[in-house]
Symmetry: none
DNA sequence: GATGAATGAGCTTTCATTCAT
DNA sequence: TATGAATGAAAGCTCATTCAT
């Protein structure tokens, strides 16, 4: 028997891994499309499979359940959100700019991907109780907390605030951002002839002028 | 055939109408409880009927579908919200107090009835209309607009604002209130050791001091 | 409104109950046929429904699961077995005849209904662990114990035995009867050119002569 | 092409055969464990493969189907049973001892391997051949007949019986042994506070004393 | 020969809705 | 009108088996 080329072995395994990634991605993409069209409960595994170009049976070795697909989609979304906000934050030259950049990045991330807002809200009631293990909940909280910490840090520095005050300010800002997205996306903002940019600018202006100098 | 007493006919009809109201209410109450426990998709007509103390077949003469029950529940909720906010508004002695009272009434209405927030969000199975006639959507918007007008009016008076400015301020406040409720109810507020009262007070204080005098 | 005839009400309810009994019976009969043809695991709810002349959905209000259908079938079988053995026992004139009659009734009951032997054996391994609640197991044991008690009683009287000895003898007889049925029905008896009647007579003759007098 | 060393070819082939034996054994062992845990229908090829340390695809060159695995397991079991009974029989010094030893060997073989009793009963998915070629059925009968012949032979010698009488006695004994195992393993023996040893001793004692002398 | 992803049919169960009574 | 059994479709998921690699 000729010795086996270890590179061959390695590359074979690597290819296997890559293929699996690709297969998972196809399913995730299909699921996202179906979730958008039909909602979480309205999405059937059959529809997801059809959209992903495979059969239902082919999904289960990749994901143990529909809820697991959802969880991964949400986790990825929060990950991308964090990266996006963090990059804006990092590149801004000073605390004032950092805060503004981070908040606007948050908004524009979700504005460009309206579906991912819905993804987060499913967590609420769309998910059957058993679906969201406390485990997953904690993990998602952790990812979100990372993003919120950026806002809190900037507020702390900028306003020369105590830790509790910074938390309060961050909460207020977070609430506003979430609410702004929702009223924007549900079209309720049009009731008042308003738009997302306008209220975001308005809110940030007030906030920055309160926190002071520069 | 003897002539029919028209009064008897009328009272009979009246009784019929009243009875139907009562029957509808039983179903609505049952449905609300089931929606709370299981979510909109998770609620079955059988469960709703059981909770309402009737059979599935008995529901259909009263409501044409499950979605119709949901729609009525939501409409009633918005109606009650409006009444609640309007009462607080009316009873407050001056614009400043009116604004504060209205905003706090909005929050406390939903804080005491967390399920009704979820009710509103189902509307978009996430965030987009589904299974809801544009007709109904318009009707719901109208009810919500009534409530928002109260806020807008108070802001207008209080801040001596132009109409567009008042709309902008009302939008910002509305976004904050909605967001505050959501981050509160989803438990995301605890990530920052914060609570609904604190951020509401904080936001209103800033708003009122900006709008000035009195 | 004329007073409602209570007999009518009563008869209506009675008819409802009777109808339900009939519906259940149709399902039970269908299930028995399918179990015979395909085994317990091989029987699908679709097949049972088809055999019963209804759809799968129509079964579930009547029985919560396939295992429940099986459990009822088995319980009924044991009940009939008991009645059959008990009647033979009761009608026989003396202990010697009682013992013989009871044993032969046991055999002929199952000889005429070979499927019900299989029914009892599914209990073993064919049933998923969760399927056989300890509850049910206990209930089935109780029914079987009633039948065994008849044998034990007769042996006790006939052989003038102590209680432990009577239990031992009853166990031996029971084991033989069960084994005889199984080797008969599996066709393994033909390996030895034998048949059920012959070995049953043989065994009983030995037993009775051992127990003695009369 | 250089001439191939025929010894090399032979040894290569021998190794292939031996390897295949080993592979088959791994699968059989895995299957036995899974059948025990989950029953015949409950056992999936995936689970068997996992237990055997291979993949599902690797099983099919070795066994054409799940039923084939089962058939081989059962055949092996009957083979071992025969060897066990035959050894006890052979080593016993006289007919009386031979009979006793063979019967007890039969019982203790199955008592120590309760799963193999179940294995035999699956044959009838209950009690009737299914998925089993008549061919195999005949083969299994032959193996079982070998074992029964030992009992028959001993009875014949011991009791000085005619051939038909010996067959009858062997059938009765076989029925008792099978029944004893089943009531033991299904726990039905406990209903009468009895146990396998007691009823076996009892039955054999009666039998031996009937057959007489020595 | 071994792999393990994929198939396609099958499973049990649930549902909104209908309709004979 | 009220009932509640029945329908028929669909759900999530599993399976023995196949086959390209």
């Amino acid at each position: 028997m000729p010795p086996v080329n270890p590179d061959f072995e390695a590359s074979k395994e690597a290819r296997e891994v890559a293929l699996n990634q690709a297969r998972r991605q196809l399913v995730l993409d299909g699921a996202r499309r179906v979730f958008n069209r039909r909602g979480l409960d309205g999405a059937s595994m059959r529809a997801i499979a059809a959209e992903a170009g495979c059969t239902t049976g082919a999904i289960y070795p990749l994901f143990p359940s529909k809820e697991a697909i959802y969880a991964e989609l949400l986790a990825e979304s929060l990950e991308r959100l964090h990266e996006c906000v963090e990059a804006s934050f990092r590149l801004a030259p000073n605390p004032r700019a950092k805060l503004k950049a981070a908040a606007l990045a948050f908004l524009s991330y979700y504005r460009e991907k309206p579906d991912e807002v819905a993804l987060g809200l499913y967590l609420w009631h769309g998910l059957r109780p058993r679906g969201l293990s406390p485990n997953l909940n904690a993990q998602l909280n952790r990812r979100l907390a990372l993003t919120l910490d950026l806002l809190r840090g900037a507020l702390c520095t900028l306003g020369d605030l105590t830790e509790p005050s910074a938390r309060l300010e961050a909460s207020m800002l977070f609430a506003f951002l979430i609410g702004a997205l929702i009223v924007h996306q549900t079209g309720r903002l049009r009731l008042l002839d308003s738009d997302l940019d306008a209220i975001a600018s308005g809110h940030l202006e007030v906030l920055l002028s309160r926190l002071g100098k520069t």
